[in-house]
């Protein structure tokens, strides 16, 4: 097979267009040129998605989008190829450094929304893999991407979500779309759901 010159970019491109992860190489270093191109690609994807977003969507946050793309890419690499020591993992999957605001959360979600499925796969192979814990910590910070997964949702804070109307609506929409009873338990979310449903709760979501 011909060697792919831009494995990271291609993987992210497939993830976003056909929602499949295709890995080309055992590569876990990502070239800088690929990163810039990936950011450009993600930005166009973002522009397309915000057409559908309620209200005024926050600006694209390239740092967060790239961080999420890297995290998802490396998580899948690590799912397939494990030649690394535990101590390397934290370096490979660092925490997001910038401020976690609505813009960062929505931008990161472009790729991060696929992470819960990857975690499920890792768990199938080895339920005690330490990488799960690292990835789940990321998801707790970016819990918008984890709605509907079996992540421990008890201690998450809704401050950032509540601060931005667009993100708040997206958050509620996703809970309803995925019919995630578990995520609809907190009082804050319940109130938001009531506002959205009005008189028609039984029509939209019978089980709630």
């Amino acid at each position: 097979m011909e060697k792919i010159k831009t494995p990271f970019l291609d993987t992210i491109y497939h993830l976003r267009t056909i929602e499949q992860v295709i890995l080309y190489d055992k590569l876990i270093t990502i070239a800088e040129t690929e990163e810039t191109e990936a950011v450009l690609f993600l930005e166009t994807e973002y522009e397309n998605e915000i057409l559908e977003y309620p209200g005024k969507a926050p600006d694209f946050n390239s740092g967060a989008a790239l961080w999420a793309a890297r995290t998802v890419y490396l998580a899948t690499e690590l799912l397939l190829h494990r030649e690394h020591k535990m101590s390397d993992l934290k370096k490979l999957l660092p925490f997001y450094m910038g401020e976690i605001d609505a813009s960062a959360i929505i931008s990161a979600d472009l790729c991060l929304r696929f992470l819960p499925q990857i975690i499920t796969e890792i768990r199938k192979i080895d339920p005690e893999d330490l990488i799960i814990e690292i990835l789940e910590q990321h998801l707790i910070q970016f819990h918008y991407s984890a709605i509907g997964s079996d992540l421990d949702a008890e201690n998450i804070s809704f401050d950032v979500v509540a601060a931005n109307d667009c993100l708040l609506q997206l958050y509620v929409d996703r809970i309803v779309q995925r019919k995630s009873i578990k995520w609809a338990q907190s009082d804050f979310i319940k109130k938001q759901l009531e506002i959205g449903f009005g008189d028609y709760q039984k029509l939209f979501w019978v089980q709630l």
């Binding site: 057409l51 559908e52 977003y53 309620p54 209200g55 109307d165 609506q169 509620v172 929409d173 309803v176 779309q177 959205g196 009005g198 008189d199 028609y200 029509l203 939209f204």
Partner: protein
């Protein structure tokens, strides 16, 4: 449980209640029996206007005439009950070869109707919709479809959005203003064959008896992006 008894010679009077589909009818030698009246039907004007009837109430297999304390008779046994429309079929009068009024025309008109119908479509001003939709929850838009008519948007589906506008109820492919119905509802089907022979359009009726044809293929699912792309 109520029973109605009427002599066979007065059968024609039963035409007034023939359209109540819940009724059952049975024939005896010289009388006709009808049963399964609902509580509203037994007191309705349609029934009370039928002459030569006797209405009985059945208690412990005895027939008590309505309002009387003593039983009159037993219910005859061996009655064969059938749906009322089968017992009293509609027959068309013979063709009248001497009728020359075939040039006469009926004006299609809407009139106010007492019957309550659930609204199925909503016609709103663009501005009104814009204010709501830009921040609308996705799940409220998903069951809906829409089409733009001049500067207004016609939203079709249930549950409708909480917006100010004119509502319509649906009868086949006709959207009729809420609170109105056709003057001759029986002719709806004939009218449909004339106005919308291939079922390709949705017909939006206005209160002034005019209508607009909306091709069904122009009706699209409602979403924020659909709205933004249409009006940008």
């Amino acid at each position: 449980m109520y029973f109605l008894e009427i002599n066979k010679e007065h059968k024609d009077f039963l035409g007034a209640i023939r359209h109540w589909e819940n009724l059952k009818i049975a024939f005896e030698a010289s009388t006709i029996w009808i049963k399964e009246f609902s509580a509203e039907q037994i007191d309705s004007a349609e029934l009370l206007q039928i002459p030569y009837t006797k209405i009985y109430e059945l208690k412990e297999n005895l027939l008590f005439e309505r309002g009387k304390q003593l039983p009159t008779k037993k219910l005859p046994s061996g009655l064969l009950w059938s749906p009322v429309l089968r017992g009293l079929p509609v027959s068309l009068p013979n063709f009248n070869h001497n009728f020359f009024g075939i040039n006469q025309k009926l004006q299609t008109r809407l009139k106010r109707s007492e019957e309550e119908k659930e609204a199925q479509a909503l016609l709103v001003e663009y501005q009104e919709l814009k204010a709501y939709i830009e921040s609308a929850p996705k799940f409220r838009l998903e069951p809906l479809q829409w089409v733009v008519i001049h500067n207004k948007a016609l939203i079709i589906g249930k549950p409708l959005l909480p917006l100010k506008g004119n509502t319509f109820w649906q009868k086949n492919d006709f959207l009729v203003p809420s609170g109105y119905d056709f003057e001759w509802p029986v002719l709806t089907h004939t009218l449909k064959d004339k106005v919308n022979p291939f079922d390709k359009n949705l017909i939006l009726w206005n209160k002034d008896n005019s209508y607009s044809s909306i091709p069904k293929q122009n009706i699209k699912p409602l979403s924020i992006s659909s709205f933004r792309l249409t009006f940008s």
